[in-house]
């Protein structure tokens, strides 16, 4: 059916999604906990632990020593590597230490710990500085790319790929289409939704700046149809905006993982990113709405990425909501700020319940890619899941039905379980993006995603990519 997005042009604001990908599932959305909660300022932190690796690519080297003074927004870590992004201090204060901190993915990993001065003004969002008349032509493409690099912007949807590398023109892979990801398919999380409603002009400015930098002719904003207000607000702002040619909103069906970039590309352009490849290979750039907002702030206001919106949610949280939080705030401090937890027994998840990472160390800091803290109760996780009871696979094939990457999760998982990594590879284990659909639907309660993730780590070790 060619390019389905071209049919959208003639419509009025239609909020019903027509396009989607094959596979996927429908976990309960649970977004009502925080969907109506406006973005509020987060805690005035006494201490911030800024991880030196918050992105894909080379980790930063610290630019200061213990005891040095820092200003809010000062660059404190950087790297010469091409695929990397600098980190900045969110607060003014003194470097207390450069030490290992718990990182959700990397385990213990170096961080710069900054102790705040007593009178530390908390930073406000800058959304009111942007209007509908924003004109991106005041800035050159090089200027934009440079500002994005200096501000340390990375993909804020979760993967954390340095944004400069994404938007910079690359002669090997010329870019044609930019997709702005406003799907937010992960249950519970509402930070992107609130940003779209409240920072609409800022996002629009960011989109136009990114379009200019990348040279894309077409910009498609994918939003799941469970967020009709966001679809309307974004469509309206495009109508009023100058230089709006080629920018349009594409409502997509509500289905998990619609916000995966490969799935979003499949849904709105009917194209498949090669397995193991990245979207630029087929001329596409995908940016999250929060990333677009950060680009606008970096270019126009010259401010680095030091704060982000985090949804603190889950039935075990006393006052769930969306907060504008300094990067480096500990999960514990943020939970306390939201009234603490209502239960003794719980699971604290950095991210949402489908792809988030359960943490055991509550001092784990917020990073540039942390969209949410979800605290689930024992009842919600389910008794079987909480106690990890598995029954044998009955080969029902539900995992195959839901796999958005069209893999065979049960075969891969059982190969890994039996330490047959070559068999796992023959079933294309590398194609898995760990969305969790297979584990979610498995009636035998098998941790398919867990096995597959383990298999990928074993394979990486075998190929000496990471040490044991």
């Amino acid at each position: 059916m060619g390019n389905p997005a071209s049919n959208i042009l003639s419509m009025k604001i239609a909020t019903k999604g027509i396009f989607t990908f094959a596979g996927g599932t429908h976990p309960p959305q649970s977004k009502e906990l925080t969907a109506e909660s406006e973005i509020q300022r987060g805690p005035a932190v006494k201490q911030a632990a800024v991880m030196l690796s918050q992105h894909l690519g080379a980790a930063c080297q610290p630019l200061l020593r213990k005891g040095n003074m820092v200003q809010a927004g000062q660059k404190i870590g950087d790297s010469d590597a091409f695929v990397s992004a600098p980190v900045h201090s969110p607060i003014s204060g003194k470097v207390k230490d450069i030490a290992l901190q718990s990182h959700t993915v990397l385990g213990r990993s170096p961080a710069i710990i900054i102790e705040a001065y007593e009178h530390n003004p908390t930073k406000r969002p800058v959304a009111d500085k942007f209007t509908e008349e924003f004109d991106e032509n005041k800035y050159s493409a090089e200027q934009i790319c440079d500002a994005v690099r200096q501000a340390g912007i990375v993909g804020m949807g979760g993967a954390g790929f340095p944004t400069r590398v994404k938007i910079e023109p690359n002669p090997q892979f010329p870019k044609e289409t930019m997709i702005i990801n406003g799907c937010e398919c992960e249950p519970y999380i509402t930070c992107d939704y609130r940003i779209m409603l409240e920072w609409t002009n800022q996002i629009m400015a960011g989109i136009k700046l990114a379009r200019k930098a990348s040279g894309c002719s077409q910009v498609l904003i994918g939003i799941e149809d469970n967020k009709p207000e966001a679809i309307e607000v974004m469509s309206t702002v495009i109508e009023k905006s100058p230089n709006r040619d080629g920018i349009k909103v594409v409502p997509v069906k509500t289905k998990y993982p619609q916000g995966g970039e490969r799935q979003l590309i499949q849904a709105i352009l009917n194209k498949n990113v090669p397995t193991g490849g990245i979207p630029p290979m087929i001329g596409i750039v995908v940016l999250n709405v929060a990333t677009a907002a950060a680009i606008a702030e970096a270019v126009v206001d010259n401010t680095p990425l030091t704060h982000r919106v985090v949804t603190v949610t889950g039935e075990a949280i006393d006052e769930p909501g969306n907060y504008y939080v300094p990067i480096g705030t500990s999960v514990e401090e943020l939970i306390e700020f939201c009234g603490g937890v209502t239960q003794k027994s719980a699971k604290v998840i950095v991210g949402g319940p489908m792809m988030g990472i359960a943490i055991a160390d509550l001092t784990t800091p917020i990073t540039k890619t942390t969209g949410a803290i979800t605290v689930l109760t024992k009842e919600q996780i389910g008794k079987a899941k909480f106690e990890r009871q598995q029954t044998p696979c009955i080969r029902c094939g539900r995992c195959l039905e839901v796999c958005p990457e069209h893999l065979n999760p049960t075969k891969i998982a059982h190969a890994v379980k039996n330490n047959l990594l070559d068999v796992a590879e023959s079933y294309y284990i590398s194609g898995c993006m760990e969305c969790g659909c297979c584990s979610y639907v498995c009636p035998a309660n098998i941790e398919l995603t867990g096995y597959i993730r383990t298999g990928k780590i074993f394979l990486a070790r075998q190929k000496k990519k990471i040490p044991e």
Binding site: G340, G397, L400, G436, S439
Partner: protein
């Protein structure tokens, strides 16, 4: 404050689904067929069904004890096997034979392979094959449904031997093929095969009850829709070929689809996930194979019915089918 923090791999929520809930769904789907069996073959049908269920469950419990394996009765798969085996037995089968069949189904058909999920052959069909091999006569005598002949003694455990027997539609169909005449008489029975008022296995006679149960399973998405469709479509095509060549010798496709074990197989036996392929393409091949082999036996072979052999043969090649029909990732094979 938090004192009991749990960690595990994502995802942290799961669909409220378990092996037990899947099996309970199948049991619910089988209820109409059991009710129909009770209606047409009276109390003995229910006695036979409960015998099979109880001996299947007891066998699994004993096997677990002997093999020192954890109790697996709470997944209800033994109950499903018991019911399906009972529904595929002739109504006049003695109780002792039903017990032997159930014990074989569970012990040899399932537990020696390692229990649920590891068996190669459908346990109920393995048990039925064993009974057919051992007690050929008992497995091929068919009593008349009690609703046809009210003067005949009510069938019960004591007097099954005296019950009047009758040829099944498939036996007539075989006769028609041999004599090259009389297929239209078989076709006239369509109404009876649809409601179930004919001779045949306990739960196989009533097409309407099986369709009802099958529809429930399809709506609940408990079974994969590809397999029933593939089985029925391929059986339809092959019987249509016969019917169109010579309609006095070969019964019509509709007769073939509604008689014998075709519907029970399409919805409840071939769809047993453990012994069927995993991938969509594999399911098509499996279903088409079951339908084709069944029709081959019914039309060309010596036996009037071939469902059991078709399912067991296709079970045997399922690992091969799975190997041949590997899924290709959405983004194509990785280039490296």
């Amino acid at each position: 404050m938090l004192t009991d923090l749990r960690v595990s791999c994502a995802p942290h929520i799961s669909k409220p689904l378990s092996t037990r809930s899947v099996m309970i769904d199948v049991i619910i789907g089988l209820v109409p067929a059991v009710v129909a069996a009770g209606y047409y073959f009276r109390i003995y049908a229910l006695i036979l069904t409960s015998t099979c269920v109880i001996s299947a469950v007891v066998t699994e419990w004993l096997c677990n004890k002997i093999l020192k394996k954890p109790n697996s009765l709470d997944d209800f798969s033994a109950v499903v096997t018991g019911i399906i085996l009972a529904l595929s037995l002739p109504p006049s089968l003695p109780i002792w034979a039903a017990i032997i069949g159930s014990v074989f189904s569970i012990a040899i058909g399932k537990m020696v392979f390692g229990g649920l999920g590891s068996n190669i052959f459908n346990p109920a069909m393995a048990g039925r094959a064993f009974l057919t091999a051992c007690f050929g006569m008992l497995m091929t005598s068919w009593t008349v449904p009690a609703t046809i002949d009210t003067t005949m003694p009510k069938i019960s455990a004591e007097n099954t031997i005296h019950a009047r027997t009758q040829a099944t539609p498939l036996a007539w169909s075989k006769q028609a093929i041999k004599t090259k005449t009389g297929a239209e008489v078989v076709n006239e029975q369509f109404k009876d095969t649809f409601t179930g008022e004919v001779g045949g296995c306990l739960g196989e006679t009533s097409a309407v009850a099986l369709l009802l149960g099958g529809l429930y399973l399809l709506i609940r998405q408990t079974i994969a829709w590809r397999i029933p469709l593939a089985v029925l479509a391929s059986a339809f095509v092959f019987s249509a070929i016969g019917y169109l060549t010579d309609n006095t010798a070969y019964a019509s496709p509709l007769t073939h689809l509604t008689s014998g074990g075709m519907l029970l197989c399409a919805f409840f036996i071939a769809t047993d996930p453990v012994t069927a392929p995993l991938t969509g393409r594999g399911m098509w091949i499996f279903g088409i194979g079951v339908g084709a082999i069944t029709m081959l036996i019914r039309i060309v072979g010596e036996y009037p019915e071939g469902i059991m052999y078709a399912v067991l043969l296709m079970n045997a090649v399922t690992p091969l089918i799975d190997r041949l029909c590997k899924r290709i990732p959405a983004g194509g094979k990785p280039s490296a």
